[in-house]
Subunit: 364 residues, 2 copies
């Protein structure tokens, strides 16, 4: 389907580079263009899993909390215990509302003593954070930091980023970010990224230099045959990585979404803690699981209902053809007790009914 | 640019009908597909301005406030005085944050005694409303009402909706909504829509009946040569209708956006009122204006900077070729004093520099 381009949907600081690289398919994420493919899905998957890829993921907008109360606000907004976070340290976290509903799953980064960044999934958390800060009259400024992440992903990503910034980056720990500069371009470099193939994120801090940074990464990556790509559905489903809003709905809680280990109920208070304690006591009613198809069902564009003995017991949210499993696989939100690995169920797409078997996540 | 379809971006209850009608171009609005064209822009413009068109605008999600405090919450959230609103009465309003920044421009409708709907522009106001309601411990449930607007727009729209629902709808006043039903499909019918060609919105209240309602409207409209379309950039720019996020940025206030007449500063209190009183006292620093091009500059995909004597004094946000003006025209946010109609300025697109003249809105 053709996407009409307007000022309402922003291009990123890497826009011209992605066009020059031949971007063919996009999605819209945080009101921003997210390049997904450059016309050769097989090469893009291979680069990510065997080589190295460059991704324009500037759509991961950074909401910045700055000021004396920034740390307190970050803790109120996130389900993780942030009390021990050092400057430069990031944590993957859930954000929930007062009723315990999942409203985002950012990486929260202590960017400076009194500065925190939330690297957001698809949702207008800028307004959410401002509402809470203002209602509580906290001494904190909430803004879009105008920081643009560029991801370098794949087993050779470390070599590329070392060639760009120096071998010291090899010592960076997972979800840790350090200040760096190349050719006068300021950035944070962190070991992170939305794949399980290893890699780095370059948080560009001068939006006017996006295409310069892209060119420098491409030059550093040339010996490693770097090429363009984007967040890869096949890889992330095989790896069991959650896509907020793809697998979740308005009333999903973090336990159902598989984020229970990122909820520190015994830590200091956060919005929705009481609701999550109640949910934990009530027990899981459904959960996100893998599903393996007997046959290839084709492309899923919208959720497909899942049935057990004629009753709807959930929905398939994403389907890919997996090279590693050798089958079509997907992720589905399924009611108990049908969510147990090995359970045989049926889903119906516009093209017919398909036998599926519940599997544990991750697949590989 | 090809848009990848996923569960993260929802299709609407009218999905199958729009596909059958041959939708070719879409945008993403409130995480929902918004069909914009069916492949014949000239016919779509002509239908809207001379005949009648059917639009799937279910992406105008309705946030519902329900409960004893719903009216109080609606007033806190909206810049209009809602104290006299009767059931069935809607008002176009701004929503602003505590700093007076424009965060949406919905139609707010008193749907029942203690039920209010916000018919939203592109922004996650569900979370904003929940944040305010929860922080203030108000007795109100905030939800997505799962109501799907279908618009019938154009000078013959009234005849079509009268053929569908009866001649009584001819008495409906602007922005007023009444309960109606056809073939067992529950809806509200209101005189409204995002054009100045006249028309109605059918707020479908049973999401399973979308394609049935589409078919009934098409059948009622056949004698009037109804055809599919979508919110029309040419018509709305000629008419000076604001598109939130297209013409506005994170720090736009409602006065700058031309919504001053929808801000009732002397009425009961709302979020951001003090900030807007301050802004009013400081006076307008920039404003949304029309611009007329000397030549046709081509398609605008992202804002173009506007210059006066070498300084950036604003940006062009949207450009269309106007049949009524006989020129390329657009809307731009321009600093004082350059925003006075008749002022000659220059804008630069990726294709070159273009002479423009500031014009009053609306154009026609």
């Amino acid at each position: 389907m053709e996407l009409v381009e307007t000022s309402r949907i922003m291009w990123t600081p890497f826009h011209e580079s992605t066009l020059a690289a031949g971007v063919t398919a996009v999605t819209v994420y945080n009101h921003t263009m997210l390049p997904l493919s450059y016309g050769d899905p097989e090469a893009e998957y291979r680069r990510l899993t065997e080589g190295v890829a460059i991704w324009d993921v500037a759509c991961q907008r950074q909401v910045q909390l700055a000021g004396p109360d920034a740390g307190d606000l970050a803790q109120i907004l996130c389900t993780r215990d942030l009390s021990q976070a050092r400057v430069g340290q990031g944590k993957y976290t859930a954000m929930v509302d007062h009723q315990g509903r999942l409203i985002n799953d950012p990486l929260v980064l202590r960017a400076d003593d009194d500065v925190w960044w939330l690297s957001l999934a698809d949702g207008d958390m800028l307004q959410w954070c401002r509402a809470i800060a203002s209602e509580r009259q906290m001494s904190v400024e909430v803004s879009d930091a105008n920081v643009a992440p560029l991801a370098v992903q794949g087993p050779l990503a470390e070599d590329v980023v070392a060639a760009l910034l120096g071998d010291w980056i090899r010592e960076i720990k997972f979800f840790n970010y350090h200040r760096a500069e190349v050719d006068g371009i300021p950035m944070r470099v962190g070991r992170a990224g939305w794949s399980k193939q290893g890699g780095f994120e370059l948080y560009l801090e001068d939006a006017t230099r996006g295409n310069d940074l892209w060119d420098l990464v491409m030059a550093a990556g040339e010996p490693f045959e770097i090429g363009p790509g984007g967040p890869n559905a096949i890889e992330r489903v095989q790896s069991g990585l959650l896509s907020y809003r793809t697998e979740t709905t308005d009333d999903t809680d973090p336990f159902e979404a598989g984020l229970g280990k990122y909820v520190d109920l015994e830590a200091s208070d956060f919005i929705g803690r009481d609701a999550l304690i109640e949910k934990r006591e009530r027990g899981l009613q459904r959960s996100l699981v893998g599903v393996v198809f007997d046959e290839h069902p084709g492309v899923l564009k919208n959720p497909w209902p899942v049935m057990a003995t004629g009753q709807v017991v959930g929905s398939v949210r994403v389907v890919v053809v997996s090279p590693k499993v050798g089958r079509s696989i997907g992720m589905a939100m399924i009611d108990v007790p049908h969510n147990v690995p090995g359970t045989d169920l049926v889903t119906s797409s516009p093209n017919g009914e398909w036998s599926i078997t519940v599997a544990a996540l991750p697949f590989v």
